[in-house]
Amino acid sequence: MTITARFRIKRKNFVLDVDLNLPGKGITAVFGPSGCGKTTLLRAIAGLEKCRHGFLRVGDMQWQDGKHFVPVHQRSLGYVFQEASLFAHLNVRRNLEYGVKRVPVSQRKVSMDRAIALLGIEPLLERRTNQLSGGEKQRVAIARALAVSPRILLMDEPLSALDLTRKQEIMPYLESLHDELDIPVIYVSHSLDEVVRLADHLVLLEEGKLKAAGPIGEMLSRLDLPLAHSDDAGVIIQGIVAGHDDDFDLTYLDFPSGRFSVARKALSVGHAVRLKVAARDVSLTLEYQSNTSILNIFPATIEEIIPDGGAQVMVRLIAGEIVMLSRITRKSATLLDLKLGKKVYAQVKSVVLLT
């Protein structure tokens, strides 16, 4: 299953003009600065935004092709808006039932109970919507969207209206959706942190145009894209819990070309993990340093170096099968005489465990 979308939508001060092929599974993040057309794209996919000569196919469902336009209420989709937008005249349970009642029984795959359990909103069911916190409201909104057994879930910055504490309250639920759902999710965001945690695939929009698209790991390490130049630039590495060291309270995480040692995590052996290695946490040496406090050192080859502001450079490294980024000063790069193809050692000061 894939999603094919072609839209050209003119607005007062910008034009959305895209031709996309998105994967039919996992979470696809649509990322870009405010006003780049992310929300317009998502609304067009939902059918909330009409454009005359669009084309949209989700798996085997033709939702738009020239004059053929399936209205929103006949599309099997879940939509989570930036604000929870719960119906004020209904309590939480009736909000959930509103969508479920309108789905033919034969098409109900996700039971309402499962949606309730996934988002942990059982205790809220009989409450009025004005008795919920911002985070609780958004969890109800996500459950309401899931309960209609949609073929695709569309989320428009569901966390952006929440403060940090509320975001952290919802994040685990979103991460669990990733493992529990077998439908594609399109997730609009302008937060790199959310994207890095959740997405499998990334679509980068800039001024209404497609800048680049691809698997998240590849996209984050591409030096020609702005992602590798943000403050928290870095790469994502898929790993697996290999074991624990009881003496030093460490956990070993194996990835295709090596092993990370990190402070002990309460995870069972064999558990799949998603790691982030930030570019600022990777330093480079020419020889293997044995007299260092850093545990995670990997041989690597320099593949690309580009300036990153006046004082710094961004170095793209290949370490076995994986790519890493390292942000170092231009002075260090000159002193070490770093060039393409040069062998170095990457010292990884810290690793962030995302899931």
Binding site: L48, V72, H73, Q74, G78, Y79, S85, G99, R102, A145
Partner: protein, 230 residues
């Protein structure tokens, strides 16, 4: 104050008044709801002209409205002529004529609160309902109407109360036929003319209390709605 309470003709005037106000309000809710809905959602650039027309009865002397309706409904008017040609009873000086006049006269009092309520809901709840599988008509009845209930309450009570208080339009196109088109406000006028201050007091006082009670209940209920919603 006189000892006499209400005469039989006063009671009949009361019944006619309530019947007129009830029928007028019902018609206005049925006609006004789609108009208000359309006005709240359209981006038609000449909408302001229609809004001005609907607001006209707020500022026009009721006699002006009544005069034009009389001309239109009378034997030489376009509508009256049409009625004659169709062989239907003429409308001037009948209860039906009164209803038509009242519908025009009370129109802004029903349409404006409804339009404001629909506008206040905004687009979002309707978009949410659409993504949850509700068709346009379904969205209207299950989302727009319940969310606009305070607007419906205001529209109903204002429409009713304003029709009860009608005078000029009724006088112009209804005449003052006891048992047919004589309403309370005109009965009061007649009593005062005949120096029957006792009866005038009873009717006026009754109307005052009735109007006050109706408006009070609107404000009370609307406060409860807004407390529940916020």
């Amino acid at each position: 104050m006189g000892t006499m309470v209400l005469s039989e003709s006063d009671l009949i005037a009361l019944v006619i008044t309530l019947k007129l106000a009830g029928i007028t309000t019902l018609i206005l809710l049925l006609l006004g709801t789609p108009i208000a809905w359309w006005m709240a959602r359209t981006r038609w650039r000449f909408k302001f002209m229609l809004e001005a027309v609907i607001a006209l009865p707020l500022v026009l002397p009721p006699t002006v409205l009544g005069f034009y309706l009389l001309v239109a409904l009378g034997p030489h008017g376009p509508l009256g002529g049409l009625m004659d040609w169709l062989g239907v009873q003429r409308l001037a000086f009948t209860f039906t004529g009164l209803v038509i006049g009242s519908v025009f006269y009370s129109m802004p009092f029903v349409i404006q609160p409804l339009q404001n309520a629909f506008t206040a809901i905004g687009n979002r709840p309707l978009e949410v309902a659409a993504t949850l599988g509700a068709s346009p008509l379904d969205r209207f009845f299950t989302v727009a109407v319940p969310l606009a209930r305070s607007g419906f309450l205001t529209a109903t009570v204002l429409g009713f109360a304003h029709t009860v208080g009608e005078f000029g339009v009724v006088l112009m196109i209804g005449g003052n036929i006891p048992g047919e088109t004589q309403v309370l406000s005109i009965a009061i006028y007649d009593h005062v003319e005949a120096l029957e201050y006792g009866s005038a007091h009873w009717l006026s006082g009754g109307l005052l209390v009735l109007s006050f009670l109706m408006l009070m209940s609107v404000y009370l209920l609307n406060r409860r709605f807004s407390v529940v919603q916020s």
